[in-house]
Amino acid sequence: MKERYAIWRIRFIFIILILLLVCAVVLSIGYGKGINEIIRGLTEKEGFGFVLRKIRIPRTILALLIGGSLSICGASLQSILRNSLAEPYTLGISAGASLGITISVILGLNNQLGVFANPFMGFMGAMGSTSMVYILSRKKLFDPGAMVLFGIVVSLVFSSLVFLLFSLLDPDRMHGVILWLMGDLSSLENELIFFYIPAFLIPAFILFCFSRELDILSLGHEKAQYLGVKSQRAYKVFFILTSILTGLCVSAAGIIGFVGLIVPHILRMVLNTGNRYLLYASYIGGAAFLVFSDVFSRYILYPVELPVGVVTGIIGGVILLVLLIERP
């Protein structure tokens, strides 16, 4: 009886998440217009149809991919570090990625090496900062608390390096880079979306496959070894996967904080199951959260568009504070 209740509870949560996601997508694609008009618009060549195909749909897809990826990165980092404050942003992975991309932008690698230069440099930067955290933590035997502290330190150092580079940049180019850094979904180049879809989904799929290892790593590396998981190797795998995803996210839309922290945090409280369901739920929930935030950022001060990173930072921060205070 109790087991059946648990299964229905999980199903119920998933149904709500999917409904939220659908609402978010409809709002984002057809703000102010109904589903009928969206469907009619899709068949049009000109006018609203053009806006849909060229701007709103790619932008929504990107928001879905980034929101989902950031929250599964957060969920898995929280499990292996056994700390609910871990996420790409707090661990310095985002800062590393942004340093890589800033270098790429300043050197104009985009023009020389093509559109993949930014995502690639983002990944390299993310790997750089993650490796630093990894090497530093190895000395502390991967103590979870120490790892988060190292992450914060590395994050601050890398952000300072980014600002150092900015100060060397001429002011005209700075504006664009700063906007991007604050988290901006609007500057998507359309041809890139066909690269982003598989690039985001493949690492995410691999993460889903490792959900059982994540559960076991959340018991600490000693117990993980007793259960047959090589924790050091697993750490490397997860750090590489989260670096790839974070590098992609930052290169596509800058630094978007709090998504990876708050979405898994809430879902973990309501789901109380292992990581298998948590990762799926986080993907859907994170995607919905970011799309909602994007809608919000576009229309709250219409026609001025806010950077979405600012919106997630404010909404996420407030929700997190409330949760932390309310918790017994």
């Binding site: 087991e3 059982r212 559960d215 070894q225 259960l227």
Partner: protein
């Protein structure tokens, strides 16, 4: 009738932060034994246990499990055969109890990317044996410390090991669950599971273990059946505490009564 040696600790020394914690220990665990490791705080009991699992690497000596050096085992094969309950386990996330116990099945499951079978039937049986079926559906983070410890133990038992290594598994329990848990372990032992258990309570060690190992300052001071090791001379020498050792009228095993300084 000589039984096969399952785990053999051969001339092992271990040091941490330039301090030698284990000095040249030899210990052989035979199949089907129920061995209790006792000794004062800091005598190296937990370290010895963690060396036996292959988690800590000694700088000298070998650990042989089933005739093969423990370092040569694949970590997953080892996990199929040895289950270990460390002294402190912390839980960070609100898994429900049955999912938590199901993690113990991990080394036995086929590693498939698409199918994740979880042996929930076996988990249910273990929960019945451990008398924790009433916790089904509850979050592990909501349980009391004693309840949690029973869930951790159930996870180890779900691992279905040949050798079970336990580091103070009953310290959080009231006497009812101390006895109950050790009885469950005794039954598992009777069915063939070899058990090595670090215990603080000398009386529990005396009552349940077929052999006790008394450690002191990184060495084995005495080992053998409880009535040989748990004499008042040995205990007073190692624990620096005055005790009276009597015979339990029911089981015939030694039992230890500490005497406070004020009566001396």
């Amino acid at each position: 009738m000589s039984r096969q040696i399952l785990l053999s600790i051969q001339n092992v020394s271990f040091s941490y932060a330039k301090k030698e914690i284990i000095h040249n220990i030899c210990l052989h665990i035979e199949e089907g034994e129920f061995v209790g490791i006792i000794g004062p705080n800091g005598s190296g009991k937990s370290t010895l246990l963690r060396i036996s699992t292959g988690f800590l690497r000694p700088y000298k000596g070998d650990i042989i499990f089933s005739g093969k050096d423990i370092r040569k085992y694949d970590i997953k094969t080892l996990a199929k055969n040895i289950a270990t309950l460390p002294q402190s386990m912390e839980v960070f996330f609100p898994h429900c109890v049955e999912d938590f116990i199901a993690m113990g099945r991990y080394p036995h499951l086929r590693h498939s990317l698409f199918k994740q079978d979880r042996d929930m039937g076996l988990v249910k049986d273990v929960m019945e044996t451990m008398d924790i079926a009433y916790m089904t559906g509850r979050r592990i983070t909501d349980l009391s410390e004693g309840e949690r410890q029973r869930v951790f133990l159930a996870q180890c038992i779900a691992q279905d090991p040949i050798l079970l290594l336990l580091d103070e598994p009953v310290s959080h329990f009231d006497i009812r669950y101390q006895i109950k848990t050790l009885e469950i372990l005794e039954n598992l032992n009777r069915d063939g599971m070899t058990i090595v258990i670090v215990l603080h309570d000398l009386n529990l060690a005396s009552e349940f273990c077929t052999r006790v190992v008394l450690m002191s300052e990184g060495k084995i001071f005495k080992e053998g059946p409880p009535n040989h090791v748990l004499t008042f001379q040995n205990i007073e020498e190692i624990y620096k505490t005055v005790v009276i050792v009597k015979e339990n009228p029911i089981s015939g095993k030694p039992y230890i009564i500490p005497i406070s300084q004020k009566y001396l």
